[in-house]
């Protein structure tokens, strides 16, 4: 279980970005999570709640967009989504490929902010 360490670094990264936007609060942090990132979504969501406690991100949501693993198939000359991460091969022509082009993501792609003033009045 290393999701808590990952969650802490997400909180750190997001906090750093958030501090550039004074006068707002964070509603959600958007994350891309690849199938080959080695991170379990459910464990990460749980860890995020713990890691964000007593930080400016407390109470915010972690929105995870899962990214399926994809390889480039030399034979078909196109990218293909893997049918299973136990078999790195083209699902159409079955050519093996270690050329991973998607699926390793562990990436903060956005912050959803809310204006403090609007929050107070709305």
């Amino acid at each position: 279980m290393h999701e808590l360490s990952i969650a802490q670094s997400i909180v750190e990264g997001a906090t750093e970005e958030f501090e550039r936007h004074a006068g707002s609060s964070v509603v959600a942090v958007r994350l891309q999570l690849g199938q080959l990132s080695g991170v379990v979504k459910e464990a990460l969501l749980f860890s995020y709640e713990l890691a964000s406690e007593e930080t400016p991100l407390e109470g915010s949501r972690l929105e995870i967009e899962e990214v399926e693993a994809a390889i480039f198939c030399q034979t078909c000359e196109t990218e293909r989504t893997l049918e299973s991460i136990q078999h790195f091969r083209c699902p159409v022509c079955l050519t093996p490929s270690a050329d991973v082009i998607r699926g390793r993501e562990l990436l903060i792609v956005g912050l959803e902010l809310e204006d403090e003033y609007e929050t107070a009045t709305g």
């Binding site: 279980m1 290393h2 360490s5 990952i6 670094s9 997400i10 750190e12 990264g13 080959l36 990132s37 080695g38 991170v39 991460i85 136990q86 078999h87 790195f88 091969r89 093996p96 490929s97 270690a98 991973v100 390793r104 562990l106 990436l107």
Partner: protein, 204 residues
Amino acid sequence: MQNDLLAAELRLKFEKANVFVVSLVSSPGAGKTELLQKTLTRLKTDSRVAALVGDLATANDALRLERAEVPVRQITTGTICHLEAHMVHTALEGWSLDELDFLFIENVGNLVCPSSYDLGESVRIVLMSVTEGEDKPLKYPTIFSTADIAVITKMDIADAVEFNRADAVESIQSVRPGMRIIELSAKTGEGMDEWLEFLKSKSL
């Protein structure tokens, strides 16, 4: 992620100093320390080598490796089940990379968590021993798919434990097509020449 940035910085530093950095990952008990001890002993005759070893609680591995009489530092991770780039960075303080040809980083015995952390290494080696079950790569595809070379250890007892070589190779190739596999026994020395030759070539 912060770790990736720091790992990229480390990689640049290693390249500049022309030191070949080899990280070792495996499940506990696959034989990382044994292989490392024998490797250090043989490499030090004509190369400048050092090692960092990660462990949850003890310094036993570093003590074992000190027998090879090369610089060794222990990274005690406490409750953390993997090494991170900042731990490597801190552990290297005071060492001059320019005076090294090889740096080995032995990760904490774990096939899950280390896969998410780049350490800035030149190559990542995944070890599996003949006692572990030939389908290990299928159970832990992520770590195998992020490694550069697979080393099968404890080949001296392969027959005794009825190790099925063809199945193991098939499992590895299934999750990492084309990956080079080196079979060896650190204990008897079988396969060690091929392993050392690979290291000395400093390339995949």
